[in-house]
């Protein structure tokens, strides 16, 4: 008896999708929301632009199904394609990637993941300072921190998504963390 599509693994769906585009719908369903928020976090695009990018990404994914060899998980592979497509779109629109605009809760989540702040009340009190610290963080650090602390990816997954060595990823995260801590110290947000 055939298993329903929602019980199949990503890899099984990939194989079936090559023959039947309707099966591909299930993969789109599984990933469209995650990718939407991921692209929103790493770009400056509005919702409509992101929706266009996502459609292009899934068509590209479909065209390249034969290059998916199981060396990466489907999730990592699709994130890698999405990241590259987003960067291409940023270049085309000549929007500087440094102008990434994170939501308040995302900023606080990254901030809290890196340093020990006094308490919830003070987090709200110092929101503007936290926003400033996060806004000043260069894009290359912000990008890996988004993947680590918001998308909750492992170092290996981040390495494959951003296509940099594991050592480089670790060093970007460590340097980004140092920058946040230094800024927080200057703004007296740390517990001593």
């Amino acid at each position: 008896m055939k298993k329903p599509l929602n019980e199949l693994t990503d890899n099984e769906l990939v194989e079936l999708s090559k023959e039947n585009p309707d099966v591909f719908e299930e993969l789109v369903l599984r990933y469209q929301n995650r990718l939407f928020y991921y692209i929103k976090r790493i770009s400056y695009f509005g919702d409509e632009d992101i929706e266009d990018i996502i459609q292009e990404i899934f068509i590209k994914v479909y065209r390249n199904l034969n290059s998916f060899d199981g060396d990466l998980t489907f999730s990592t592979w699709v994130y890698q394609i999405s990241r590259n497509a987003t960067i291409d779109a940023i270049r085309k629109k000549q929007v500087r990637p440094q102008s990434v605009r994170l939501k308040e809760e995302d900023m606080i989540k990254i901030f809290k993941s890196n340093i020990d702040i006094k308490n919830e009340f003070e987090t709200k009190e110092h929101l503007e300072e936290i926003k400033e610290i996060m806004a000043n963080l260069p894009y290359k650090y912000k990008e890996v921190m988004i993947l680590k602390f918001l998308e909750e990816k492992t170092y290996e997954e981040i390495m494959d998504i951003v296509q940099k060595s594991k050592g480089t990823v670790a060093s970007l995260i460590a340097r980004g963390r140092k920058m946040i801590i230094k800024e927080a110290e200057q703004k007296d947000l740390l517990i001593n």
Partner: protein
């Protein structure tokens, strides 16, 4: 956020989009691996030529010269052309490897180490199997190109002179013609160390370690077989080759 799943499936069906073939999706990666392999092979050839040129010095020469002078000569006559080409292939190999499908996973040190190791192993194999020596024989007029270190023997100021004996004047004097076409009078004596394979006769090619006395006059301390000893040379219509056997060397007309 909108649900695109149906729309995407419809687009795929309507535009008859099909997954690209494996070949089409992988050709770039195959091309990079091919280019990378070529770089390793080229690097190995250049590396073997570096070895060939450095080992041209020979242990006899190294023993004869003082360490400082020997190091100076190594430095000034280093086969820089091959060294630079070798470094270019290592760098190109590195850049190409980084472009392969999973090349980004490895750090600079690891990739460079692997490339240098692969080139060193293949280059050494090429040297020991004498592929590098065959290169100069296989390509006409390539002797100067393949062995730039031969220029070491054209440094009378530094005590090194090489060429072919064109006239034996006496038991103490002979004349050689260098690669530059200069005729040098070479004085020698019983104290001059003449390596056993060498005969002071016309047509012999010799490397002389000694001292420049005046312009085109040289005193020999040691006479050895230079690295260009077995080169074929053209004399009139005949090609002559100096062949060295355990009992001595002879000129052979081909």
């Amino acid at each position: 956020m909108k649900d695109f799943s149906k729309k995407i499936a419809e687009t795929i069906k309507k535009d008859h989009i099909v997954p690209d073939s494996k070949w089409k999706t992988h050709w770039r990666n195959y091309a990079f691996w091919l280019a990378f392999s070529l770089m390793i092979l080229l690097g190995a050839v250049f590396f073997s030529l570096v070895i060939l040129n450095v080992t041209d010095f020979g242990s006899e020469l190294a023993r004869q010269l003082k360490l400082r002078k020997f190091l100076f000569l190594v430095f000034v006559t280093m086969p820089y052309l091959w060294l630079i080409l070798f470094l270019i292939t290592v760098f190109s190999g590195f850049m190409i490897f980084r472009k392969t499908k999973r090349g980004y996973r490895y750090n600079v040190l690891f990739i460079s180490g692997i490339i240098v190791l692969a080139i060193a192993i293949l280059g050494s194999l090429a040297h020991f199997s004498k592929i590098n020596s065959h290169l100069e024989k296989g390509v006409p007029g390539s002797d100067k190109f393949v062995r730039p270190a031969e220029g070491r023997w054209q440094r009378p100021e530094d005590g090194l002179l090489g060429g072919e004996i064109i006239k034996v004047e006496s038991a103490e004097l002979f004349v050689i013609k260098t690669r530059k076409g200069e005729d040098w009078k070479v004085f020698y004596s019983d104290e001059t160390e003449v390596k056993r394979k060498i005969k002071i006769e016309e047509g012999w090619r010799v490397g002389i370690v000694g001292e420049k006395k005046e312009e085109y006059i040289f005193e020999a301390f040691m006479i050895i077989q230079p690295p260009f000893k077995n080169e074929p040379r053209v004399k009139g219509e005949n090609k002559e080759r100096l062949e060295c056997l355990p009992d001595g060397c002879r000129r052979m007309v081909q």
